[in-house]
Amino acid sequence: MKEQLIQRYSAPERINHWIVAVCFILLAISGLAFFYPAFFWLTGVFGTPQLARIIHPFVGVVMFLAFLRQFFRYYHHNFIDAEDVKWMKAVGTVMKGGEVGDTGRYNGGQKGMFWLMSGCMALLLLSGIVAWRPYFAASFPIPLIRVALLVHASSALALIAGIIVHVYAALWVKGTIRAMVEGVVTHAWARKHHPRWYREMTGNKR
């Protein structure tokens, strides 16, 4: 029997996603190297420590612009509604593999993650620019740079922890990676995890 599939992400959307993902990995590797002395050797991924330091902010800007495109693609799918609140309150059931609420295109967890990522990205860009040498930092007062470094490291670490959850969720819910690699999901996947979206996409009653 032929698999029944629904298109979830177009090719441009997938390319956009993976640009952000690759930039994020590079930023996390170099950033963690600056944050944790014991991981400083990770700067070797970029050739020399100096290169890692120089490259990091430029990759950051690329990632921010690519994420901005994603933000405008998806923000209107991510307004939190009553079904999402139900989902968030019953997150324990979800963890056990159960489904909660009449979930649309994204569930409460995904929406929360979307806003966490958006907030962190904005903070990272702003604080990153304030700390960016040799181009911008010299124009800011030192106390502001101190705050920027604290904000940058804090939001980076919040984002990294968030992305670990994001990646794990994709690995845990089988069939999800395919949505971002091939662009499609099965009917069964959609019906189980995003029933309202499934009905919208197929016109089926259930």
């Binding site: 593999g97 089988k174 069964a188």
Partner: protein
């Protein structure tokens, strides 16, 4: 510059211990602001010894020239005119790195071995390891390190660690014509200062005192001030300098919190997967089951 003839007490971004067994004497440079005549011989000596040439500046109406510290000017004289006790006073302070016992620059630096604190108290930048991030600038409570536009590396006074390593005093000390700058063990310098302060007090400077601020663990460059209670009179010398709370939070509490957060996310995922197991929807069997249940 790397000089292994001096024992290392601490290295930036290096959590493990350095060799500690040799008992090195702590040194200090004592700058007697009350004796300084502002001739700038020390500035010249510094530039000579360290082969630095600051750009010829312009007169900005006061004697300060160069106007500020830079990668090419590791010490500058700062001149300030104030009225104290009904008299005009010309306060001249030789500014530069204080060689803190608890150096904010070293605490902030992310690059292993870019900042070194020797056991004798000298804090030295090893530019070959510097990545040019400028964290030391944020870490320093005295606004001392400067990032060079030429090579994007951080520079500041080395207390002539190369000279001290071979038993000589720093170039500025050697040159000072009035003896306002002295160099020796920190203990001896405190004694010299105490004698001078007693003298100053006799002459009516009731608040004369030694500037060796405890907030940064004491310094290895100390000042004798006529008005130790009013340090900011000396061109903005901080009264109670300490590493900023923001920097302490960033380099302190944030690390364990971040480690816990990241580790918790990773471990949760791993144990969740091996206990609850994957969440499958796409095998037909499961779908049939669902249909019969409904």
């Amino acid at each position: 510059m790397a000089l292994q003839s001096l024992d290392i007490l601490r290295r930036s971004a290096t959590p493990t211990a350095t060799p500690q067994v040799r008992n090195t004497v702590e040194v200090a440079k004592l700058i007697d602001v009350t004796t300084c005549i502002g001739c700038k011989a020390c500035q010249v000596a510094c530039s000579e010894w360290n082969e630095l040439r600051a750009e010829v500046g312009t007169n900005i109406g006061v004697y300060d020239n160069p106007v500020d510290l830079s990668d090419q000017a590791w010490t500058v004289m700062r001149f300030n005119e104030v009225e104290e006790n009904g008299k005009l006073e010309w306060l001249i302070r030789k500014d530069g790195c204080m060689h803190c016992a608890d150096p904010g620059c070293l605490k902030a630096c992310p690059s292993p071995g870019a900042i070194i604190q020797y056991k004798n108290g000298i804090v030295d930048f090893h530019e070959e390891n510097c990545i040019g991030c400028g964290y030391c600038v944020s870490g320093c409570p005295f606004n001392v390190p400067r990032i060079s536009k030429q090579d994007n590396k951080a520079y500041k006074c080395s207390l002539c660690s190369d000279r001290v390593a071979v038993g000589q005093e720093p170039a500025c000390v050697k040159t000072c014509p009035t003896g306002a700058i002295q160099f020796g063990s920190k203990e001896d310098m405190k004694e010299v200062a105490a004698t001078r302060i007693t003298d100053l007090k006799k002459r009516g400077y009731d608040n004369a005192g030694l500037y060796d601020p405890a907030g940064v663990g004491g310094t290895h460059v100390m000042y004798v001030l006529h008005h130790a209670d009013k340090a900011p009179l000396y061109s903005g010398l901080p009264q109670d300098p300490a590493i900023s709370a923001t920097v302490s939070l960033w380099k302190g509490l944030l690390k364990p919190v971040a480690t816990l957060g990241i580790a918790a996310a990773g471990l949760f995922g791993f144990f969740h997967y091996i206990t609850v197991g994957p969440n499958r929807a796409d095998d037909e069997h499961a779908e049939d089951e669902k249909e019969t249940v409904k």
